[in-house]
């Protein structure tokens, strides 16, 4: 016992009993640390008051919501041709916009990768990605419906544009993370820049790109079911109209169909991506 105590003391001049340890705080300044917490709590309270958070209203709404739900059962699939044609249009929008979008996103990604694009090109493409990704898809769709008229064309264009922003950004990041050593040898053998791109860079980012394409198809399928609400084609239009006509049983049928398709797409996308990674 004494021996052990002696050896512990030998290891360090501090007596064993006095040695405690605590994880240092992430924000060292205590005023800042607690100040941030207080500020966040205060703002949440203020915001709750500002949006008229009214428990009474919420309670009053419950019977109405219940009523609507009751009208939804049983779902009415009698106009299945309408549902089917709407869903097929959504699917076509999603498939076409994904195909076009992922192809167009390749030049976008190359231009937006800091390690291979010249500075001005990089800034230009980053600005493009920034703009496209800042605007919500529904907003872009409203703009295209105004410009090109109602229908699937506006929706397809919206999803194509959004896809170039999404895949372009993530693929650019993949390009920025490549191993420069693997790239060095190819120009050293006298290869031109386009050959360096397809021979040294493409193999390094290909698995990521395929994963992104499938992920984007999944997103586009989901989005294509909703863009109809602003008149951009697909099954969303039928959903919006059924609500307008208080045909909640038809709405329920459409919602179930959308949920089924989205779940299926998500499951398929996940399964495929798990396989290639």
């Amino acid at each position: 016992m004494t021996e052990q105590a002696a050896s512990t003391q030998g290891a360090s001049p501090t007596p064993a009993a006095a040695r405690t340890w605590r994880k240092p705080p992430t924000i060292p300044n205590p005023v800042l640390r607690y100040g941030i917490v207080v500020a966040v709590v205060a703002y949440v309270i203020y915001a709750a008051g500002d949006v008229n958070l009214d428990i009474g209203r919420a309670i009053a709404g419950i019977p109405k919501a219940w009523d609507m739900l009751m009208q939804m059962v049983p779902p009415d699939f009698s106009r299945w041709e309408l549902l089917l044609s709407g869903m097929l249009e959504s699917l076509q929008m999603a498939v076409f916009s994904t195909a076009a979008g992922v192809l167009l996103s390749i030049p976008v990604a190359v231009g937006a990768a800091r390690n291979i694009a010249p500075r001005p090109v990089y800034l230009l493409f980053r600005a493009y990605i920034g703009v496209v990704r800042t605007l919500p898809e529904v907003l872009i769709a409203i703009f295209f419906v105004k410009a090109f008229g109602f229908g699937a064309f506006a929706g397809t264009l919206t999803l194509t544009l959004a896809s170039t922003g999404f895949v372009g950004k993530l693929l650019a990041e993949a390009i920025e993370e490549i191993d420069p050593g693997q790239v060095e040898a190819v120009p050293a053998a006298g290869a031109s820049w386009p050959l360096v791109l397809v021979y040294a860079i493409q193999p390094q980012v290909l698995p990521r790109y395929v994963g992104l394409c499938i992920y984007r198809l999944d997103i586009n399928l989901r989005e294509s079911t909703i863009l109809g609400i602003v008149g951009a084609g697909g099954i969303g239009a039928a959903l919006y109209n059924s609500f307008g006509r208080y045909e909640y049983d038809v709405s329920a049928a459409i919602l179930l169909l959308i949920i089924a398709v989205v779940l299926l797409a998500e499951w398929a996308s996940g399964a495929i991506r798990a396989r290639i990674q």
Partner: protein
């Protein structure tokens, strides 16, 4: 004939990596460039094929001023300079064959390369080279499935398929174990001799440099401070290159290593191990046979 005149490189941060290096390399010899870390060895070799842009000076290969070229013309000039890298720099997800054929990218068009439709002559040459470096049958293996020594063999084949006029070799053995390092350097030396081209080899291991080189260049602080035969490298020379230290061990070690390499080769004759069981294998054996 490679001529380097007053080559200098100052990096953007003001660091002078290379100061007025002049050098002339004739036919078929292994030239080792030794020097301490940060002496400018890597910058020196990369300034020759302009993976690093020299600040001033001139590099001439067979009468062509490489430093004056730009864009497409520079890419064409690089086809004549085969490079071998410390970290092998293979494209990991491509096959051995694709990596070897990437040495021909300076000669084929975009679609040919993209669709992997290389000329039959290139493919035949690639098979011959894979055979020569001891990787016959490995053409469809992915580069990331190979061992370090095997990867460097692919790197050597890739450099040689260019049919270069010179080999630029940057620390070819730093990522390898001592035995594999010897085998790989032996392979580089033998191939340089077979093809009658010079090999400029950066190497930080003095013992290895003295063992394999026919000429040694000492770089210190961006200057050439020694240029001579390996036999002339003594304690005084090493002190000039690296600074004061006890060099007796290094110089004596070298003698021991040479002896060890020879017995190694003889042992290989008796060793029934298959070629890919360990580094060494076929190539070590072949190197030993080639040197009576």
């Amino acid at each position: 004939m490679l001529e380097i005149a007053k080559l200098a490189k100052t990096y953007a941060n003001g660091q002078a990596a290379l100061v007025d290096c002049s050098l002339r390399i004739g036919q078929s010899q292994v030239v080792a460039v030794i020097g301490p870390s940060g002496a400018g060895k890597s910058t020196f070799i990369r300034c020759i094929n302009r993976l690093v842009e020299p600040t001033h000076g001139r590099v001439t290969l067979d009468g062509q001023d490489v430093t004056a070229l730009s864009g497409h013309a520079m890419a064409r000039a690089r086809r004549h300079m085969g490079m071998i890298f410390q970290e092998f720099n293979l494209v990991e997800r491509l096959t051995v064959m694709e990596n070897v054929l990437s040495g021909r990218l300076g000669y084929v068009g975009f679609w040919q390369a993209l669709l992997r439709r290389f000329p039959a002559a290139d493919i035949a040459r690639a098979f011959d080279l894979l055979d020569r470096v001891g990787l016959a049958g490995y053409e469809n293996n992915r580069a990331d499935a190979l061992s370090g020594g095997q990867r460097q063999r692919v790197g050597i084949a890739r450099a040689l398929i260019q049919e270069p006029k010179i080999l630029l070799v940057d620390e070819p053995t730093s990522s390898l174990d001592p035995k594999t390092a010897r085998v790989i350097l032996g392979l580089v030396r033998d191939l340089a001799h077979e093809r009658g081209i010079p090999a400029l080899v950066n190497i930080h291991d003095v013992g290895l440099a003295l063992m394999f080189a026919e000429r040694v260049i000492g770089l210190a602080d961006g200057h050439v401070v020694f240029d001579g035969a390996p036999g002339d490298v003594d304690a005084q020379v090493l002190t000039r290159i690296y600074g004061e230290a006890d060099w007796r061990q290094t110089i004596r070690d070298t003698g021991d290593d040479t002896a060890e390499r020879l017995t190694d080769g003889q042992a290989g004759d008796a060793d029934p191990a298959p070629p890919d069981a360990g580094e060494g294998g076929t190539v070590g054996h072949r190197a030993a046979v080639g040197r009576p």
